[in-house]
């Protein structure tokens, strides 16, 4: 269900790092003028300001949030606001954070594993109907699956499953990703030499054994990028968790935020501190792995 606006690009070719580098170094055709820097710095400020402002308002009192002119610097009420947030029985924010961590990690591990497995099969194994199946995988990336949430809800609410309000309702539909399969297939095609596979086969390796000990280690760079993108996408997934978990005892951090935003508009600082805290894990991931994420997105865009 991790589609919609937050879906990563539907095309991806992660290239082996060496080639991508040489392409980049040859690219500087034009020099930057001072005006270029001015434009980029203004864009940077506009990009960062709303996030900064979220943290500012999360450290202020309700009166200060409603003041004109609006406050521009951090205040001293961060701990107060945070305490109220964590004590809020209705939003269950801490629980939402824990749940989101669990949901996103599970989905990430699963998507990376199954995408590598299927991507390897599509890139390196021969079987009937391969091209037709791959076409279907690509087609699924264009399908607006969030339009199917009504029957999906009916399935989850059925007597056999009874998953409404349970985390597995959010986890299970997201265990695989067409984008992931396609991305790993493109990478495996370039990064895993045929000789390696042949050698493993001559050694009597079963196909899964070959995948696990020969192919998977070679897929690591692409798997890392896919993992990062998947984690962020499922952390941000909204409409389906909102449908099946909203109002239950099992919120994700996004549904907790929706509860806050819907019901606590007389305590704005609490909402903002919640929004800030919900963003922190993503910011940490981004600061640590930003370069890889950008590389993944950029390499995903072009077929060499």
């Amino acid at each position: 269900m991790a589609t919609g606006t937050s879906a990563p690009p539907t095309s991806a070719v992660i290239k082996p790092a060496k080639r991508a580098k040489s392409r980049e170094s040859g690219a500087a055709l034009w020099t930057a003028t001072p005006l270029t820097y001015v434009a980029l710095i203004i864009t940077t400020l506009l990009s960062i300001f709303p996030i900064y402002y979220m943290f500012v308002l999360g450290t202020r009192t309700a009166d200060q949030v409603g003041a004109v002119p609006p406050p521009l610097t951090p205040g001293t009420h961060f701990i107060d606001n945070l305490t109220r947030l964590f004590a809020n029985d209705e939003a269950q924010f801490l629980r939402g954070l824990g749940n989101s961590l669990l949901v996103s990690s599970t989905i990430t591990v699963s998507v990376v594993f199954f995408s590598s497995l299927a991507g390897f099969a599509f890139a390196k194994l021969r079987f009937r109907g391969k091209n037709a199946l791959l076409l279907i995988v690509i087609g699924t990336m264009m399908v607006p699956t969030q339009l199917g949430i009504i029957p999906l809800y009916m399935m989850m609410a059925s007597d056999t499953l009874q998953w409404t309000g349970e985390l597995q309702a959010v986890i299970v539909p997201a265990l695989v990703s067409g984008f992931g399969v396609f991305m790993m297939r493109q990478y495996a095609g370039q990064a895993v030499p045929d000789e390696l596979i042949e050698a493993a086969r001559i050694d009597g390796c079963g196909t899964f054994r070959m995948f696990w000990s020969v192919v998977l280690p070679g897929l690591r760079p692409a798997a890392a990028v896919l993992g990062l993108l998947t984690f962020m996408t499922s952390w941000n997934d909204f409409i389906w968790p909102y449908t099946v978990l909203f109002g239950s005892d099992n919120p994700t951090v996004q549904t907790s935020l929706a509860t806050l935003s819907n019901g606590f508009y007389d305590d704005l600082p609490q909402i903002f501190v919640g929004a800030a805290v919900a963003t922190v894990p993503l910011l940490i991931v981004f600061v640590v792995f930003g370069k890889q994420i950008i590389g993944g997105i950029m390499n995903g865009a072009v077929k060499g």
């Binding site: 500087a28 004109v68 099969a121 021969r126 199917g148 929706a258 935003s261």
Partner: protein
């Protein structure tokens, strides 16, 4: 652009796929196992994707069509077949057309500026820059932040009484604007949010495509005396065609399904209505309101979902055709 596939039997990279190596002499039982492994393993490996997507992705979407032909209420025991009645009702449903109007308006306001902005940013980044990684990261930051958090903070920035935007407007001598209950202003505010979130992301994709354009094209154009802007329009844009097409289709599909941004832009009980007078309610929100709001009307909600599905397919196709034609003309 990568939606290109290898056809026939050739494997990626032009190399031929590995043939099963001649098996060493084995016992009959191992041999059978080996044969099953060679034949069955590929299917086993790709099956998890197809099984899970089939059950939780494709089936629900198809089943939506079936549900839409019924008077289907979550709380009722029976749900009689009523044919196209739900669709007939939609055609005269003012609230549906209101939602369609809003969806289209915000789709245009969120897609066109977003892609133009992204092109411009990519052109800026496609130079020999200092702090290259820094600028790229800061352009991508809006995209990695939590979407609900973004909606909440933008609702505040565009707040009527104490929002930053109105404060800046008043500083330039303009009146306070009501960004929440004026239809077109709320479209602008919500589209701004979408543009802010996605322009940098698309810029990185365009940048990658720009860097893949062979240098000698520009060099020979420069020798022929083509100006920089001429080079941009006659070389860069045509070479970017597949990427442009891809980004247009993806943002079309995404922006026609807007949900979180308008939902959380208005708080309280008007949230799912997109404001007190349904100023910013999108079709996805209207589907949700019917199915999961007060009505539990799954049949009608499903019909709304399929209407949106049709709209998405039609607009995506039109976009693809128009883009192909326009950038086709620019080609030498």
């Amino acid at each position: 652009m990568t939606l290109q596939m290898d056809t026939g039997a050739s494997a990626p990279g032009g190399a031929s796929p590995p043939r099963p190596a001649p098996a060493p002499v084995r016992s009959p039982k191992r041999n059978l196992l080996h044969r099953f492994d060679a034949k069955g393993a590929p299917y086993l490996f790709v099956s998890p994707f197809f099984v899970v997507f089939g059950i939780f992705g494709a089936f629900p979407l198809m089943y939506t069509a079936w549900v839409s032909l019924h008077d289907w209420n979550l709380l009722e025991e029976t749900h009689p077949f009523i044919g196209l009645e739900n669709y007939a009702k939609i055609l005269t449903d003012e609230q549906f057309w209101n939602a369609t109007y809003n969806t289209m308006g915000m789709f245009v306001l969120a897609t066109i500026p977003q892609l133009l902005l992204a092109l411009w940013l990519a052109a800026l980044l496609n130079r020999s820059l200092r702090m290259r990684t820094f600028f790229r990261m800061s352009l991508l930051i809006p995209n990695i932040t939590s979407i609900a958090a973004v909606a909440i903070i933008f609702a505040q920035l565009f707040s009527t009484d104490f929002g930053m935007v109105n404060w800046l407007l008043s500083a330039t001598g303009l009146d306070n604007q009501d960004w929440h209950s004026n239809r077109y202003l709320s479209w602008i505010a919500i589209s701004t949010m979408v543009n802010w979130r996605w322009a940098g992301y698309n810029a990185l994709i365009f940048l990658a495509a720009m860097q893949a354009v062979p240098r000698d094209l520009y060099e020979s154009a420069a020798i022929d005396g083509a100006t920089r802007s001429r080079q941009f329009w006659s070389i860069t844009i045509p070479m970017l065609k597949p990427t442009l097409l891809f980004c247009i289709i993806v943002s079309t599909i995404g922006n026609l399904q807007l949900f979180v941004e308008p939902l959380l832009f208005n708080s309280g009980s008007y949230s799912i209505l997109g404001g007190q007078g349904r100023e910013a309610q999108t079709i996805t929100m209207y589907m949700y309101e019917n199915a999961f709001g007060d009505y539990n009307n799954f049949g009608y909600g499903s019909a709304v979902a399929w209407m949106l599905f049709l709209i998405i397919v039609v607009i995506a196709l039109v976009n693809a055709l128009v883009t192909r034609r326009i950038s086709g003309e620019g080609k030498r």
